[in-house]
Symmetry: C2
Subunit: 304 residues, 2 copies
């Protein structure tokens, strides 16, 4: 089991780190990325660069998909317009697809059923922690899967993450917990921006405010992390405004399906959409503070 | 300086701990509380119980006010209906009034001016940290004052708090930072409730959700602290729903004065008002989760 043929699709900020962790753990790693050359560059240090998804699928027992959203996940599995060119048609019987994107939980639940009908296993496995932790194998996975899927993939999941939460015995709970984390992350970033903006409006020294809040009951992981970007005047995107337009949208879609009210999530979503359409879509998500009028934000070293 | 005659007004959860810290530091502590017997009970271990505010004011060089709100602060200083029965008319020339309540910053700024005209000093000094930290002298003070007020009170403030933030050279910044902390605290409690409620609606195990979130980027100090109450089904008030009806109201009043929009604060304020008027005003602030329909909350040991 410890030298498994693992395919990893999507060598972005998270995926490339995860593929590296799998390689370090001694697995037989196959990689695919739509950008020419990215897979080949990875394979120079070990592993196999695949030219097509079909080639990757045919070679692997576990396939880990680290693409941006549900639409890309569907294309990876079934091809553009479900033309059959994706992995699903070429996967070995009894192999497992590990879905790491942040998606509507109902989408993930549907994939498990569809793959089961094809004789394939499935792990609902959104990830969290950022690129640095992905590279060091210290990220978090929020997973749910049937026991037979865990039996085939547990050692692979453990090779990529410091903590693999097992949240249910079928798909759904992983994606649900992930979007609830995004609910809190998004609301907390927008709340941090609102608080810092009020401080600036009231003439409070923003560095003093940061110092007090990060040592008080008003603190959040996101306030501490993102308001440092605002104080530095640095909106280089680590995670962009449009990520939260998407993720809070998924949160609201999920709740709407059961007619469940989310007053703060819907308000924060409006704030990120306002920031996006005002021209800050690809800036760091802390740029949501730019929707507030009548304040002067700290300027960054780059502008000085 | 180290054996100062200090008066403390309001022996509630915070004030009684602060008075104890002052006594331990060797100060000559005078106390007053409107509840008969509370001051006398305190003085049994040392210090002086005062029967009237006038008696306390006449005996002390520094007076620390730890009452609930601006209205009580005004009554402490000027008497009911400004009938002159409060401290201000009886304070020694050059003595200092330390205002520890959470109030509109403009109210605090106004008090400094009014007391200065009477020849009295003033420290804008809201407090944070809870009753346990107040008792151990480990709470936080968010202060702003003129240098001459700090010169007379610095050692007294340090006796009560582990950290005394000095945020400005006149009144205002202390109260501003305090209400911005309350903005974040209130929004984070309401967001934590919204997230936990969605998890319950979606059938996620609430203990699993708590475990994941408290180890993820979606965490906040308030999520970690208050959702433990929800999981235990224990709404015994450590801080009540109506505290945030009041404090988010102060936040909104402050911002309204400069026509500054606060989308999340106003939404969270509505949520606490809904909880209050639905019958949960005096329950723990985490009871804001009870506004969400269509979910079953964990039951507490008390109800089992």
């Amino acid at each position: 089991m410890m030298n498994t043929a693992v395919g990893l699709i999507g060598l972005g900020a998270m995926g490339s780190g995860m593929a590296g962790s799998l390689r370090r753990a001694g697995h037989n790693v196959h990689v695919f990325d739509i950008r020419p050359g990215v897979a080949a560059a990875f394979a120079e240090q070990g592993g196999h660069a695949c030219a097509t998804l079909a080639e990757l699928a045919a070679a692997c027992d576990v396939i880990v998909s680290v693409v941006v959203n549900a639409a890309q996940t569907e294309e990876v599995l079934f091809g553009p317009g479900r033309d059959g060119s994706g992995c699903a048609a070429h996967m070995k019987p009894g192999s497992t697809f590990v879905m790491c994107s942040t998606v509507d939980p109902q989408f993930s639940i549907g994939l498990e059923s569809e793959l089961q009908a094809l004789g394939l296993h499935y792990v609902d496995a959104p990830i969290s922690g950022g690129a640095a932790r992905a590279a060091s194998g210290e990220m978090t996975m929020m997973t749910a899967a049937k026991p037979e899927a865990y039996a085939r993939t547990g050692h692979v999941l453990d090779a990529m993450a410091a903590k693999v939460y097992r949240l249910g015995d079928r798909a759904g709970a992983g994606s649900k917990v992930k979007i609830i984390n995004q609910l809190l992350a998004g609301v907390h970033i927008a709340a941090a921006a609102e608080a810092m903006a009020l401080g600036l409006r009231e003439g409070v020294n923003p560095n003093d405010l940061y110092d007090v809040i990060t040592h008080s009951a008003g603190n959040s992981w996101m306030f501490e992390n993102r308001m440092a970007h605002v104080l530095a005047g640095d909106y280089t995107p680590l995670s962009a405004v449009d990520i939260f337009v998407k993720d809070l949208g998924l949160v609201l879609d999920t709740a709407r399906a059961s007619k469940f009210p989310l007053p703060l999530s819907s308000t924060a979503h409006q704030m990120f959409m306002q920031a996006s359409t005002a021209g800050h879509a690809r800036e760091d998500d802390s740029a949501v503070i730019k929707i507030f009028p009548g304040i002067t934000l700290p300027e960054g070293a780059k502008k000085a």
